[in-house]
């Protein structure tokens, strides 16, 4: 029941993340093209447009990182993982990696929080369009929290996998007995 709830929630969040990344990407391409057209075709100099592009760019980066965490698609040197053939060892290796990742992600959360808190105490904005800096910085905070949650999910999945494997073996031995 809880598993199904989490699955449905994960799908919804995944859809939202992908939709937001799609929108950010389209805005970056569209605004950048508009910048070129404005300069060469209309002869306009649109002040601050680059700031808007950077805002959507930052959200695009961080949403992309979050999607990669959700799908476990972050760049990995999988040399050790490929050498492990035993399923139990594989799960234990995954649990160890997830635990290390989770601890490191918490450090990322602390860094992002300190940046955001510092920025809110001394509010800054972009010179052209007066965009508050916390807007793009919030994307880093979201990525930090999201990545921590996904690494916790991976840790939970691998630990339960090990436990299930143990109970399966016990059940098998019992049946054999």
């Amino acid at each position: 029941m809880i598993g199904r709830l989490f699955y449905a929630l994960d799908r919804r969040i995944g859809w939202l993340l992908e939709a937001a990344a799609f929108m950010s990407s389209m805005l970056v391409v569209g605004l950048m093209l508009f910048l070129v057209l404005a300069r060469y075709v209309f002869g306009w100099s649109v002040v601050g447009l680059l700031e808007l592009i950077m805002l959507f760019g930052m959200w695009l980066y961080m949403l992309g990182a979050l999607i990669a965490s959700r799908r476990n698609e972050h760049l990995v040197v999988d040399f050790v993982e490929l050498q492990i053939s035993d399923h139990r060892l594989k799960l234990m290796h995954k649990a160890l990696v997830s635990l290390i990742t989770f601890v490191i992600c918490l450090f990322f959360v602390v860094l992002a929080y300190r940046m955001l808190a510092w920025g809110l105490r001394r509010p800054q904005s972009t010179p052209g369009m007066d965009i508050p800096l916390w807007l793009p910085q919030a994307s880093i905070m979201l990525a930090a929290i999201g990545c921590s949650c996904y690494s916790l999910r991976d840790l939970f999945c691998s630990v339960t996998g090990i436990l299930h494997l143990g109970s399966d073996v016990r059940l098998q031995k019992k049946e054999e007995y």
């Binding site: 950010s24 592009i53 930052m58 990995v76 040197v77 910085q137």
Partner: protein, 432 residues
Amino acid sequence: MEGFIAIGLLLLLMITGVPVAWSFAGVLAYLVYIFDVNLNTLMLQGYRSVDSVILIALPLFVLTGYLMQSGGIARRLVDFIEVMIGKRRGGMGASMIMASGIFGAIAGTATAAVASIGTIMIEPLEKRGYPRSYSAALLGISSLLGILIPPSITMILFAVVTRQSVAACFAASIGPAILLILGLIAANRFGVGRFFNELSSAAGDGLEPLPGKGRATIKAFPALSLPIIILGGIYGGVFTPTEAAAVAAFSAMLIGFFIYRDLNFRSFARSVVAAAETTGTVILILLFSFMIGRILASERIPQDLTMLVSTLIENPLLILIAVNMFLIIAGMIMDDVSVTVVVAPLFLPLMVDTGIHPVHFASIVACSVVIGANSPPVAPILYMACRIGKVSIHKTVKPALALMAFVALPVMIITTFVPELSLFLPRLLGFV
């Protein structure tokens, strides 16, 4: 000492299987602890480094690569090149090399080239007598032309982390890229008939018949116009590299939707999300590496490294050889992004001290990435080529090592010891 421990920790975390981005964050945590860094402003510095207009070119070129794949642009390019040179001796292998080169001139990534060109060409190559292991090795190394031929994402990263001109770095790697293309074509031609026989295309080989020369050219014209728009735009002073990336992505979109009509909304959306994901993984590495770089710079570690190496080795030639060897070894155990964003800035002061121009160093780093990305144990591109070629890595390692030893390594040596190869074009264009 702390610098070496940091690199050791990075390698340990990576080899353990911790994602590369989080391995960098782990090293950052270690450096923060050792040097008692102010956490309030550390992330702000990282944010400011990533908040760069030049870096926006990264997601846009990655998106272009994905759109080329899903929009049928890669298919038309391969058909065109196959029709033009496929019938000559070693022509099929040469087609793969040339297709990867042109793909690189549009998208600038090796992974997209491996996926696109490999999916299209491995099967026909096998039907023409090329062993799968050899095809996968050739695919792995030729796809890395995307790193040397502008617009190259590796060069964009190098330019950002070392504060060099992107256009100059782009121009610097063109010479080595041409040399690598020629070397690969020559090696392939040498191998045909000696190690395997190339069969002539015949009816009934199960392959889709290729269009005629004229038809293939007309079909490939929109795809072939892309590199002209991008490179002509950048070097003609019309666009900045970032604007060129946006124009390239938009053009790929138009071509895929309205000219080739291979793109639909679903495949388009998938490509956009995949591009965002790829960019996100790279940017996170970059964000942490910028912060690591700041700490190392404030502790004067690159300068200490320069002093240490200069006192140990006095001969500039030996320093160059040592740095080259270090770059290759780093490439064997790290991915291409990590080598570019960590090792390059660490060694740049030493290189400048030795009399190497930073732009020349950019092309040396790019050449080392070509070798590293195909060298086990990490070899991300070679592994990917094997997956696409459906062949085991054990069979592929031998031809891959042969291609690297006889082509990629000599290209790297020539690039290192003949600076003009890298500096001629940037000088001609007035960047250096």
